[in-house]
């Protein structure tokens, strides 16, 4: 069943100098219910813009984004977001952060307590309920952020490079945990990352974005069984293929930009 429908979406950003800039051009894809869908691409390809549109923080210049047939017009808990820098409320404890969305949803009080306890347990943070975010490590903060997003029972989980600022060991551990949680409580996940290995490890499908203007170049299906072994030849092959392709894209981009930059220099 198709759940998220991104239909011919273009987004123009206006730069500080007032120049219009094409951030996304005719982006078009669909995400199935309970699918783990990743979006990869080099920086500047409009990944975060796409997530902002899906979350409802921004509106597309052209085209439409729909969830379950309804056009996205504003942010809402049915599309909970996990941010790269966690975005936890520093003035609330772990438990209060996880509870935040439940209070906004007007969930009855005893049910709130049960859900907070359940999701704090799910991300392995029992015993830290009354700590403030600043007292936690990066990995623990991101787990709070995931628990906070899951607690409101969103139909879609939007994740914007959630593990990018963690160290390698913590990142791999968090990836495994996320997969476990996702398999236990299936949800549609739209996962943004610049790491191809991460995308291949986690996803059902991967959309590869090309930069300037941001557009979907290809959508790859990853149908290896989970858990995936990063040394499995098939996985290695797929990763190498995508990486090679991306490297070529970045290289082409550089070349197409350099003469223009050179001309600007000469004009000064």
């Amino acid at each position: 069943m198709i759940q998220v429908d991104v239909a011919n979406v273009s987004k123009v950003h206006v730069s500080m100098k007032g120049e219009p800039l094409l951030a996304l051009l005719d982006v078009d894809f669909r995400v199935e219910e309970n699918e783990f869908f990743s979006i990869v691409g080099p920086s500047g390809c409009g990944k975060t813009t796409l997530l902002n549109l899906l979350a409802g923080f921004e509106q597309p210049t052209r085209g439409e984004l729909k969830v379950g047939g309804k056009v996205i017009t504003e942010p809402g808990w049915e599309r909970a977001v996990v941010f790269q820098e966690y975005a936890l409320f520093p003035w609330y404890t772990v438990a209060q952060n996880v509870r935040y969305g439940l209070q906004r949803k007007r969930v009855p009080e005893p049910e709130q307590r049960r859900l907070v306890d359940h999701y704090i347990g799910l991300v392995g943070l029992r015993g830290f309920e009354s700590r403030y975010p600043r007292e936690l490590s990066g990995g623990m903060r991101q787990r709070v952020s995931i628990a906070r997003a899951l607690a409101v029972n969103p139909s879609i989980l939007l994740m914007d490079e959630p593990f990018a600022s963690l160290d390698v060991q913590t990142r791999e551990y968090m990836q495994d945990e996320l997969l476990k949680i996702w398999q236990r409580e299936p949800k549609t996940v739209i996962f943004i990352t610049h790491s191809i290995d991460e995308a291949i490890k986690l996803s059902d499908r991967i959309a590869i974005l090309a930069p300037r203007p941001g557009r979907v170049e290809e959508i790859k299906t990853v149908d290896f069984p989970r858990p995936r072994d990063p040394t499995d030849p098939a996985v290695v092959h797929l990763a190498a293929e995508v990486k090679l392709w991306l490297r070529r894209k970045v290289f082409e981009n550089r070349r197409s930009e350099e003469p223009a930059a050179g001309r600007q220099e000469a004009a000064h």
Binding site: A55, G56, F57, E74, P75, G76, W77, R79, A80, V81, F83, E85, A87, L88, F89, P90, W91, Y92, Y100, G101, R104, K105, Y132, R134, R148, A149, V152
Partner: protein, 300 residues
């Protein structure tokens, strides 16, 4: 050679259960004990008190120098008696005024005025600043008026305010209010305006409505700035108070100083100055404690 306790339990003197579970990960309690054993014991209370007092040595040198210069300087310059009375004279002046029951009245009158005025500045200034930070349109409308009034020094208002309110509490409170109001507004404004975009977005995506977003995200995010604004307002207000009382007042520390000048009582003048400094310090300390209490997450 004294060896420190080690985690693998090789050392027989290592505290507690660490030796018991060789090869097993040490328990949290054992680790806590180990950590405690590595920290040197805190110095006894009298040593800590002494070290705290000894930090004030420069202040002590200053007071002693002042005493000596005032006492022995009079042999060189007899006028020094009036120009700069020694600390002991200031203390006896305090005892004198307390005995006559006027000192406490002056202090309380000054405190009452400053607290009333800064309280009013906070009650009006914080909501105004937050609203200006929250809504660009509101800010655009209010800003020109505010920026026009703000550069006028509070003291320039004294003649007009005497015409309006006469000489008394209302007039002085008004002057202090003017002095404290702008730092409160501007800091609250900055606090509400500079809230982290991601926190606002997190709130929105978790279903917060505008009113909830304001109360649960914007207000707590702005709170440190609000406290800073009130602290600055209190400091500037305290200075405006003394200036206002010097010019026209029926009582208060500023009045006491000015009155003492007409009587050539420089010991009273110095006493007033010392009290103004000390009370300003106490007020600021209380504000910082209040901020710590109100924002437990914000501790350094």
């Amino acid at each position: 050679m004294p060896s420190s306790p080690s985690l693998d339990g090789e050392d027989a003197r290592s505290p507690g259960a660490l030796t018991a579970n060789r090869g097993m990960p040490p328990t949290q309690e054992a680790l806590a004990r180990l950590a405690a054993s590595m920290v040197p014991p805190p110095p006894p209370a009298w040593k800590r008190a002494l070290s705290r007092i000894s930090r004030l040595w420069l202040l002590a040198v200053f007071v002693i120098a002042w005493q000596l210069i005032s006492m022995y300087g009079q042999r060189v310059n007899p006028q020094l008696d009036v120009m700069m009375p020694p600390p002991t004279a200031v203390i006896s002046a305090a005892a004198d005024l307390i005995a006559r029951g006027v000192l406490l009245t002056h202090i309380l009158d000054s405190l009452k005025r400053v607290l009333l005025a800064v309280g009013a500045a906070a009650v009006l200034g914080v909501p105004l600043g937050l609203a200006m930070g929250w809504s660009k349109r509101f800010r655009a409308a209010v800003d020109p008026l505010l920026e026009f009034i703000r550069p006028i020094p509070p003291l320039a208002w004294i003649p007009l305010s005497i015409l309006w309110f006469g000489i008394g509490d209302v007039q002085i409170v008004y002057i202090i209010f003017l002095a404290a109001f702008f730092p409160v507004v501007l800091n609250s404004l900055a606090g509400a305006r500079d809230v982290d975009t991601y926190l606002v977005r997190a709130g929105l995506s978790l279903g917060a409505r505008p009113r909830e977003l304001f109360l649960t995200v914007v207000l707590p995010a702005a709170l440190p700035h609000i406290f800073t604004g009130i602290r600055i307002g209190l400091g500037i207000g305290w200075m405006a108070l003394v200036a206002g009382e010097l010019v026209a007042a029926p009582s208060g520390l500023g009045y006491m100083i000015n009155n003492a000048r007409t009587l050539f009582r420089s010991d009273y003048i110095l006493l007033g100055m010392v009290l103004i400094g000390a009370l300003g310090l106490v007020l600021d300390y209380l504000m910082r404690q209040a901020a710590r209490f109100a924002m437990p997450w914000h501790r350094q």
